[in-house]
Symmetry: C2
Subunit: 397 residues, 2 copies
């Protein structure tokens, strides 16, 4: 048995061998994608010294209440005034308008009294220049570095840089195959000894949230020929994932059929609960393969720990492992056994920071419990019983 | 001026008047959608008492090392054995298989020695029944309550309940209109006094992440007739959002043209930085309207505080406002002015929980700063200077 950290390192090494091409995507469709090449600004922002307020641009290096100027021009956003102010002159100006040559500051309109073409500064006069200098946000040479996940702010920044399309890593194609004669798809008519395939829907959602493109394959029955045919159909994928059929039971055929198809198995058992039976390897042509356990909770927990990081690795991101957080136990937990335990738990914001409570029922078949959980509480192998208030590590889910 | 909390309450009241229909969506496409009606299980899970391990189901209420059984049958997942075990009999059984009638526990295969059709229990014998009782996860009457955002675990749970399609609230259609003669779309050819429209890309990403469907309208120039024509084209939307043109400048036409189109304006100025100029109201036929400030950072911050909660409200969710977290200041901050300040800041996990550092540059035009931020640090109106280590409130972005 190997540790979770060792298994994660091996999974990421497999994923790192995949080199996905990039594609150009319009900004309106690029949310959540991973920038794969630095983006360079084709202009500065603002591209000119711009008024930050509605008011008057005045041709004076310093101003005082009572000072008076002649209004000779007007400048609005998108409507520059091409001229230059001379000392004693002012231009009516609106937010976002280029500040005319010769003007040193903008006096906000609330600090001015106007009479015809003449303004006089009022005693309320503030002291700000109210000007956003050319390039205050970024200069012409500005570059948005890659790799980087594109969120709302990055998209707005790319737009302001006049980069209409982002160069992003293509989404890895992930094939998801649930195996087992006991499985029927939702809406099907299960026999008395059958259950409904459920893991694939959770895993598809996790893959897509991570930036992959998931395809659910037809359920594979426990027959070598049928399983082999469906596994061959997974060759289109950048990452092949099977669910179930990965333990040592006589009916677990995945490793056997996989070997026939060129699957090189990298490891088998991890010192963790839930999810001990797990296979990782290469599925022909250097593409990674992951064999998840069949129990729903085990499959989903292994999805968070191994599958999502592999997808993020394939997308070229750094720091792809789930980020552990510290929390305090709201209730005591018993001693842990010889394997790391990823307990289903619920975290909330307490008066002194995060508090976490593990659910009493931890069987790896309980989807009701998983759906109430919002994190995994990590118990190290051999950890002693811990009292309420102890600092523990959690992974948000 | 009204407070942020009051403005949020008014925005949510406007959104609450919208009643969106529901639709049926296959589970594979339902991630992130909001369940709008309770889903009821059409079967229990497991639907039979199932073996949790590979081993032998034995017909004995208590067992001890040395006990011996005759193997008379086999049961695998999806392949029940229809018979009943008599005392002294056992069935070979695999994980997920129905436990035969007459069996009281499953002995794992590692705890058994087998000789032909006879098994003998070994000294390593564990004490678990290794059986998942019928309905241990959920019973036939189980219901997944609504409203509820469907994440991976909920999708797996619905599948296991044999609910093939989720009843979800339809996505609210949101029209996004950037206004101003100074704006050009990315990839365009801006004049020397123009800038690139950027906010709409950030807002579209935020709307879609919240579960809405965003349409970017053509940029509206600062001419009443053109603005009116485009605003009329926004009537298809469940929520109309304009950006810019909402302050008191002579060139800010949105309120004027909006009034002509039946816009009822609910409020105007909020005691906050950034984002003071904000309009909310109804845009004909009781559909909400939101007018955001034009500065990129102001628009995006107001998006987090007002727009996203409105969308979540329209989707029927509860607790739709962004959840504040407590953090400690990693560096001191100066006194705040008379308006609540939502400072761009970066939060990280310190040794004693969350720490947060506000950026030095807080001008509402700085997208580079916003793209480095991962939270907003809330400074209450009139807040005194705070030392490093002080407890503050942040909103993750």
């Amino acid at each position: 048995m190997i540790t979770v950290a060792e298994a994660q390192a091996r999974c990421l090494a497999l994923a790192a061998e995949v080199s996905l091409p990039s594609e150009q995507v319009p900004l309106a469709d690029a949310a959540g994608r991973v920038l794969s090449a630095p983006a360079r600004a084709t202009r500065a922002q603002p591209p000119f010294s711009a008024s930050a307020m509605d008011g008057y641009a005045v041709a004076a290096t310093s101003v005082a209440p009572g000072d008076s100027f002649e209004v000779v021009a007007e400048a609005a956003a998108g409507h520059a005034w091409g001229g230059a102010l001379k000392p004693g002159q002012a231009a009516r100006i609106f937010t976002g308008a280029p500040v005319p040559e010769g003007a040193h500051q903008v006096v906000i309109q609330e600090d001015v009294s106007r009479d015809g073409d003449r303004i006089t500064l009022l005693p309320s006069l503030g002291n700000g220049p109210n000007i956003r200098p050319l390039g205050a946000d970024f200069g012409m040479d500005h570059s948005l570095t890659a790799p980087r996940r594109l969120g709302p702010a990055e998209l707005a920044l790319l737009a302001a840089m006049n980069v209409p399309e982002a160069t992003v890593r293509m989404r890895p194609k992930v094939a998801l195959l649930a195996t087992g004669d006991e499985l029927v798809m939702p809406g099907g008519n299960p026999g008395p000894d059958q259950i409904i395939a459920s893991n694939v829907f959770a895993l598809k959602a996790m893959i897509e949230a991570a930036g992959g493109e998931a395809t659910i394959m037809p359920i594979a029955p426990d027959r070598e020929d049928a399983l082999q045919a469906i596994m061959e159909d997974m060759r289109f994928a950048d990452l092949a994932v099977t669910i179930g059929g990965a333990s040592v039971g006589d009916h677990d055929l995945v490793a056997k059929v996989g070997a026939r198809l060129g699957l090189e198995q990298s490891f088998y058992k991890i010192a963790m609960r839930p999810g001990k039976p797990l296979i990782a390897g290469q599925f022909g042509e250097g593409r990674p393969y992951l064999g998840l356990p069949g129990n729903p909770v085990s499959a989903i927990v292994c999805g968070y720990l191994f599958l999502v990081p592999m997808i993020r690795q394939m997308l070229g991101e750094s720091d792809v492992l789930p980020a552990p957080l510290t929390a305090r136990l709201a209730a005591p937990v018993g001693a842990n056994g010889p394997r790391a335990h990823y307990m289903r738990a619920r975290m909330h914001e307490g008066t002194n920071g995060r508090e976490v409570t593990a659910f009493d029922r931890q069987d790896s078949s309980l989807l009701t419990v998983l759906s109430e959980a919002n994190c995994l509480l990590i118990r190290p192998a051999g950890d002693a019983a811990q009292p309420a208030g102890a600092a523990v590590t959690v992974l948000p889910t």
